[in-house]
């Protein structure tokens, strides 16, 4: 394969990988702080994309404002999810929490379909759609935005978790919740923070991605699955690891399609994530079982 073609697939992989990365970071933060896998994580991406489009197209909000508002609304949805659904279910088992977040996921999805309809929408790109030629491969400005924002956010998250009081408090909760409580960290406030951050990160991904790929009300499940795979590759340990996981998954997907290996024509691209997921889960089965909170 020619190197410019390879580069083309690499760009595509990094673009998709950025979305998986942002969703994966959301999974990682919530899981680290609360031991909950939020099955509604993909819906934040959908909300971000849908909200930014409808604020812009139907309500005439200027695009940058629409994007910021969409992110704020998704963060509020994240907060409500925690306050109304998760916190009310005290001492729920793992399975109960899975079912609650699945319920939240289809609830959000249904509301989106009711309010905005079931057709795919595509908000305008931030800075035009004329592709740039880089070393023989084309890349859209919006893809550069997506990859760039992901990398900047990764850096900011790294700084946040290591050099701010709140970031360190979140990290303390992740390491040992009861010990964190003893030194005066409010675990519930931290859990709320985690859900707000996850909502905002997912929505950032959604607002930046949807001008590239368009978005429908039902895309959350698949994006959530991919984000979960990204977080699994990263081992649910740190946001940076989840980002690396997401980019890896994106590149693996793109390359499998590029090689056209076996059944992996683009129609079956989605199957790759599952195979990667199963491979990782099984390789780490013992380790993961030890991590799980007893139900």
């Amino acid at each position: 394969m020619a190197s410019d073609q390879l580069l083309q697939y690499l760009f595509s992989g990094l673009t998709h990988g950025s979305i998986y990365a942002l969703v994966g970071v959301g999974f990682t933060i919530i899981y680290a702080v609360t031991s909950i896998i939020n099955f509604a994580q993909g819906e934040f991406v959908m909300l971000g994309g849908m909200l930014s489009f409808f604020l812009f197209a139907s309500m005439g909000v200027p695009l940058p404002m629409a994007v910021i508002l969409a992110i704020i609304v998704a963060a509020v949805v994240g907060a409500l999810l925690y306050l109304l659904a998760i916190r009310s279910a005290r001492q729920a088992s793992v399975v109960s929490l899975i079912i609650i977040t699945i319920g939240a996921s289809i609830f959000i999805r249904g509301i989106a379909a009711e309010v905005w309809g079931v057709d795919a929408v595509r908000p305008p790109a931030f800075t035009g759609t004329t592709s740039w030629l880089v070393a023989g491969a084309y890349i859209q400005p919006q893809a550069v935005w997506l990859i760039g924002i992901t990398l900047v956010l990764t850096l900011l998250l790294h700084l946040f978790f290591n050099f701010t009081m709140m970031g360190k408090a979140l990290k303390a909760c992740a390491i040992n919740r009861s010990a964190a409580g003893m030194v005066g960290i409010d675990a519930r406030a931290m859990a709320l923070t985690a859900f707000v951050m996850a909502g905002a990160l997912g929505a950032i991904g959604g607002t930046v991605m949807s001008p590239l790929t368009s978005i429908t009300y039902g895309m959350g499940a698949m994006i959530g699955l991919k984000g979960f795979v990204a977080a699994s590759i990263g081992g649910f340990k740190s946001p940076v690891a989840a980002v690396i996981g997401g980019l890896t998954l994106g590149i693996v997907e793109a390359m499998a399609v590029a090689i056209g290996w076996g059944p992996f024509s683009s129609a079956y691209k989605d199957a790759i994530a599952l195979i990667v997921l199963l491979a990782i889960l099984l390789l780490r089965a013992g380790q993961l079982a030890a991590q799980e909170r007893p139900s």
Partner: protein
């Protein structure tokens, strides 16, 4: 006062089951609920799928978010074998059940090394992939448009060619599966499963092969779903991938949650409530049904994590023992 006590002491269980059987027998007649025969057939089919998930969820504490995939496998095995290859529909149904069961067994081996969240996500992924396959393998499955003209089931010259006849066929299968499941739950296996739900470590230390029991139930649930899928395509003479996607799997979880996780007969209640809700009440509201399902899942899990039907049953028990007014601890 005396009368109430006698009412409380009376064993209502045989009466309830007898009433249910008579009701099931008479429901499809025109003078009773004939106009709802199709709905009742679907309730039977979904009860079959749901009871498998109830066994898995309620008795082993494992969740599957991909149960519709097995339902779909049964459906497509029956549809493709009987229509495209002219295989006898009964034989196709058996082949489908064996193939689906084998597939479940093969994937259960790696998958049941996982627990909780990871198992849930793996089954969710599996369900989505099967749905992609049903859509993409268009040369066999007809793709998103589906395939029609699937032959009907028959015994000799007696063809199950009306919803009325198929109702009895489906409910024969459904009740057989419920009875089988009831027996499993009350057997040594059932006690082992409850022990696993209580504590995996403790049951393993008592010599229960935890992984093997989970795998058995997973395979059993897959076979139930496959049989239901086969009956489903012969009922409609048509199949498309739509019922077998992620939302199809979630709907089965909703049924199990409404029915009560650790309850065999609750599966009928769960399947009936959800089907009546979606077929009769929500038809005009587009996507409103998933909003309602989402609410049901969240509310039931927050307030009665043991499932709605089981909660109602426990109220009945407390009434029977005269402790209705007491606060449950």
């Amino acid at each position: 006062m005396m009368n109430v006590e006698r009412l409380q002491r009376f064993n209502w269980r045989p009466v309830a089951i007898g009433f249910l059987l008579v009701l099931l027998l008479l429901m499809p007649f025109n003078w009773f609920m004939g106009q709802y025969t199709t709905l009742l057939v679907f309730i039977g089919l979904h009860t079959m799928v749901t009871v498998g998930l109830c066994l898995l969820l309620g008795y082993t504490g494992q969740v599957s978010l991909g149960q519709a995939a097995f339902y779909g496998l049964g459906a497509y095995f029956s549809a493709v074998l009987s229509k495209t290859y002219g295989v006898n529909p009964w034989l196709a149904m058996i082949i489908g059940a064996i193939a689906t069961g084998t597939f479940a067994y093969v994937i259960a081996y790696p998958i049941f090394r996982l627990k909780g969240n990871y198992l849930a996500m793996a089954t969710l992924g599996l369900g989505i992939i099967m749905y992609v396959l049903f859509r993409q393998m268009a040369q066999y499955t007809g793709g998103p448009d589906g395939m029609g003209g699937i032959p009907q089931l028959a015994i000799g010259s007696f063809v199950f060619d009306t919803p009325f006849k198929r109702y009895y066929l489906v409910w024969f299968f459904c009740l057989s599966i419920l009875l089988l499941s009831q027996n499993i739950v009350n057997s040594r296996t059932g006690r082992a499963l409850r022990a696993i739900h209580g504590s995996e470590a403790a049951s393993a230390s008592l010599g229960i092969n935890v992984a093997q029991f989970k795998m058995k139930i997973f395979v059993l649930a897959a076979v139930y779903a496959s049989l239901a899928g086969s009956l489903f395509v012969h009922h409609l003479s048509f199949v498309n991938p739509q019922p077998f996607g992620f939302l199809g799997s979630v709907m089965i979880v909703v049924m199990a949650v409404v029915g009560g996780l650790a309850s065999i007969w609750g599966a009928i209640f769960g399947a009936a409530m959800v089907r009546i809700l979606s077929d009769e009440l929500l038809l005009r509201f587009g996507e409103l049904d998933i909003v309602i399902y989402g609410l049901i899942l969240m509310l039931v899990m927050i307030f009665t994590p043991e499932g709605l039907f089981v909660r109602l049953k426990s109220y009945y028990r407390r009434w029977q023992t005269g402790r209705l007014g007491e606060v449950e601890l």
